[in-house]
Amino acid sequence: MIILRRLSLPARHNQLVVFAREARAAASEAGMNEAEAYRVELAVDEACANIVDHAYAGNPGEIDMEIAWEPARTFVVILTDEGRPFIVPDGPLASPPKSVEELRVGGLGLRIIRQAMSEARWEFGVGAADGRKVNRLTMTRDLAPVAAS
């Protein structure tokens, strides 16, 4: 795997644009087209917003982002924080709302993450290499193999 980015910034809403834009740039470097890279940008934005709102919940902290790439196979974004664990609903996504009455504001970010990426896996309270207990979100995006020329 080739490391494309490593970034640590304060977990604040006004910093999320930096994570998101770096992720989009890395996705472009990995060969994604503009629409695909935009979806990666969205997923990273949503995932970081969840960390700010739910893991740190108003408390100071940092988000670490590492982006790696296996050419023509996988693009991986790993977000790490030291906030509190929070509940991530699993199972299949609910059907989209068909009426205004069915509209809900909750869960939109999670839906975007799951739709934009091939896989998203949350782990809470896991041991980092330096001994810290962290939360870790690993988002992967499968890449189409490059056709042989």
């Binding site: 935009y38 979806r39 989209p96 205004v100 939109l108």
Partner: protein, 91 residues
């Protein structure tokens, strides 16, 4: 529009609706990014508008904004019009 900037959008929509304006066209020309924070403001505005026989439509959104709306399955609830006058006429 992300979680840092969407509150301003949300406040603007709430301000309009407090004035009794419930037929709203969102002119998204020039908007090149929108996360779920913007969608949440749109959902709140649509619910309030519908409660007053109004509506919220989107005009001039680029492909990325359309994609954000489609990712959460809101295409049928927030029709996107190419032209703002076309959207106004349909309200």
């Amino acid at each position: 529009m992300d979680s840092a900037t969407a509150p301003e959008f949300d406040n603007a929509l709430k301000g309009l609706q407090l004035e009794g304006r419930h037929k709203i066209v969102l002119d998204f020309a020039g908007l090149d990014y929108m996360s779920s924070a913007g969608l949440r403001a749109m959902v709140a505005a649509l619910k309030e508008a519908k409660a007053h026989n109004g509506g919220v439509l989107v005009a001039a959104a680029n492909d990325k904004i359309r994609d954000t709306i489609a990712l959460v399955g809101f295409q049928s609830l927030f029709p996107v019009f190419d032209d703002i006058l076309e959207a106004v006429d349909s309200l």
